[in-house]
Symmetry: C2
Subunit: 499 residues, 2 copies
Amino acid sequence: MDNVAQAEKDFKELLKEQNAYRETIMLTHWDMRTKIPKKGVEQRSEVVGFLSEKLHQIETSEKMKNFIDVLKEHSEDDFIKKTVAECEEIYERNRKIPSAEFKEYVMLQSKSESIWQEAKEKDDFSLFQPYLEQLVEYNKKFANYWGYKDHIYDALLDNYEPGVTVKTLDQVFPDLRKSLTGLLDQISASSVKPDPSVLEGHFPKEKQEAFSLAILEKMGYDFSSGRLDETIHPFAIALNQNDVRVTTNYDETDFRTAVFGTIHEGGHALYEQNISKSLANTPLSDGTSMGIHESQSLFWENFVGRTKSFWNSHYDLFKSFAPKNLQEVPLDDFYRAVNEVKPSFIRIEADELTYPLHIMIRYELEKGLINGDIKVADLPRLWNEKMQEYLGVTPPNDRVGVLQDIHWSGGDFGYFPSYALGYMYAAQFNHTLQKELDVDRQIASGNFTPIREWLTKNIHQYGKMKKPLEIVEDVTNEKLNSDYLVNYLTEKYTDIYKL
Amino acid sequence: MDNVAQAEKDFKELLKEQNAYRETIMLTHWDMRTKIPKKGVEQRSEVVGFLSEKLHQIETSEKMKNFIDVLKEHSEDDFIKKTVAECEEIYERNRKIPSAEFKEYVMLQSKSESIWQEAKEKDDFSLFQPYLEQLVEYNKKFANYWGYKDHIYDALLDNYEPGVTVKTLDQVFPDLRKSLTGLLDQISASSVKPDPSVLEGHFPKEKQEAFSLAILEKMGYDFSSGRLDETIHPFAIALNQNDVRVTTNYDETDFRTAVFGTIHEGGHALYEQNISKSLANTPLSDGTSMGIHESQSLFWENFVGRTKSFWNSHYDLFKSFAPKNLQEVPLDDFYRAVNEVKPSFIRIEADELTYPLHIMIRYELEKGLINGDIKVADLPRLWNEKMQEYLGVTPPNDRVGVLQDIHWSGGDFGYFPSYALGYMYAAQFNHTLQKELDVDRQIASGNFTPIREWLTKNIHQYGKMKKPLEIVEDVTNEKLNSDYLVNYLTEKYTDIYKL
């Protein structure tokens, strides 16, 4: 074996170790969010800290650096080269931060999250403010360490959506906003209103679970490589390629939380379950970005799960689990009720139309925080002003306003745009898919296999072998285009609200 | 800080790391036995292997050896000294085996377990035989590396029950066997027979689970530091001191599996939940031996859960979950039915009386294997002969005979005696407890707090701070004495079978 072949072999061994820590950390997270008894958390948190440090040590080790240097220059294997590039990105991103600062930051993150929780409970932004100020300062410093071409915020965006910049977002968001608020105005003016009260009633958890399982099964989620559990804040998580778990939350007074939540997380899980097995045990075996991941969950949730065709083919199944009062609701009333548009305070409860507006508010605020245009102290006021401006409602308190999301308390700046990007990607993918397949008829038939196979062939299988914008262009033959989302929403709500 | 204080501090840090790996391995085991999807197992097994190697590296590191040397000589802290002694035992045990041999052995273990499973399924001992022969040879070698005074098997026993030797067992087992078989003969000759058919009927899993939860609650199991899950082969597991989980198995045609299984595992869990918190993050925070652990599970299962007083106070609770057909069974018939004595093939399904006989058969056979008196090839024949001799039944095949238990396939020789020892310890503890507390009245009142507190004060809290035989003598003021078990069983069955 020559030196390069030996280095490739040893590199793969190191990745296996790295992956063992990664899988263990994921298992720990899953357990902490679904199963752990209350008093077990304290000790477990120390264990997670220890494992994360070990993982970080490997990612930033001299050993890793040597493999990167040797293989970058000498390996001729495309898979190895992509893997090395990914490892190098992680290495550089981590090594550019002085380790003392990184440690301080990790401690600040963990402290801030619990302070945020307290501030939210007490509805007292001032408790959280000093922590958020520090988090912003660290992120500014990190952005400068990492570097950027045009806008300091680009350095943060790059962590979540490589290739997407402020320029990209500032090109698409204003038009999108205009279209969405226009549509929202038309809807508000319409005399036709869905009646969500038909959905009310007590829907026992066990029945919701049974329906959730049935839907996941139909989506093609592989239960021999996954499972469904209950949690407070739903997520999907890949422990390894053959162990991709979905979680959901059951609200016995509102089944929509679990049903659409399960389909959403199921979309994430299908992505992870269908990454090519050849990428196993490397950092390439993961969704390529937050945005592309979100495109998969939103595709299933909205472009499949909230369509009329879907409920045409699944209403009987739904009714077989649903409580009495829902048995009598006509399908059309049901369909319209689950698609009601109503500006509200909470992002994760927002409807399809207003959701991107929630994202834009966060994007504009955090961009301002990072480039210094906005002071943390002014956030609550600015938040409420923007809510009024974009959505026409003003949160009555910070708990349902600026304190609602966990992201900033963990220092996650640059993450929010991925949600809106994912939505635009999903609409754009959907448009292409429709040219190749009669999607509507397929959904109406209840056979999702061709849809899932198309997503796997075009998106899932690549993992991180392709960058997000590369996937968008390869699949749709054009750059990011928000028109598809606007067209989709216009068509949908024109029908529902008789615009 | 002087050097010793610094060493103590650094030593504790190393133990924390060691414990982080331990907790992670435990979580992985729990997940693999309760939750993991089928296809996730293969990759996870590699992760467990990796984590186990890391743990082993710390246990046998030069760093650990240095702490042992320094602190053994210079520390004046009793807790540190006991911890160091425990670490030294682990260090010595592991270091005495050449690392190449250890690796071969670990691979052999993992291979043997799957071969054993196959052999059991196919009822073909010859498949397993060559692996078992190798496992025996390794264990002989290891026993010689570890050293012993009187009998080679002592070196293996010491792994599970420190201080107990062949001499100890050969003193108690023959008399115990004579007493048990005598009692068994009387029972067989008795015309009075419980009627287990009254227990038959379909008992839904959910109802069994609800009853299991209620009983654990009454035992004083702390659900804020634990949880109950379903599994195939029940176990209790301590992930950390505040996360001690119980698992059970629901047989819808025979509720006894879950009810007595849950109480049994609950007994193990109470032990782990009540070890002194001051021992956290050290190897002392664990049951002191397999036998003492088993004494706690058997105490709750038999000396509490199978008593007339227990069912007197819990029969109504039981009936509130039980199916219709059980509602009409008179308490006395029920009590006698769950205490039926009937020689059978499977150890884990054996009644209280015949259980120790199953253990003695295994003890005699493995002692013979290790000292060379018995050949692996002769095991099936010898097993069946002993079953006939001790229990009066001959297994119709090896699946319910020599292939039934997993232990030997994992190389666990010296483990089985702990089950019988635990039973004798439990009877002996029970005898002492009865002198201090009206146990029967307490059980009849349904308030287990004084019993649990007594066990915690005398046994649980110490973890590994006391050796098993030290605990037995401290608590009962005498050495191991099998008379208590014989007296207990005689009294119990004299009543049930009117002997």
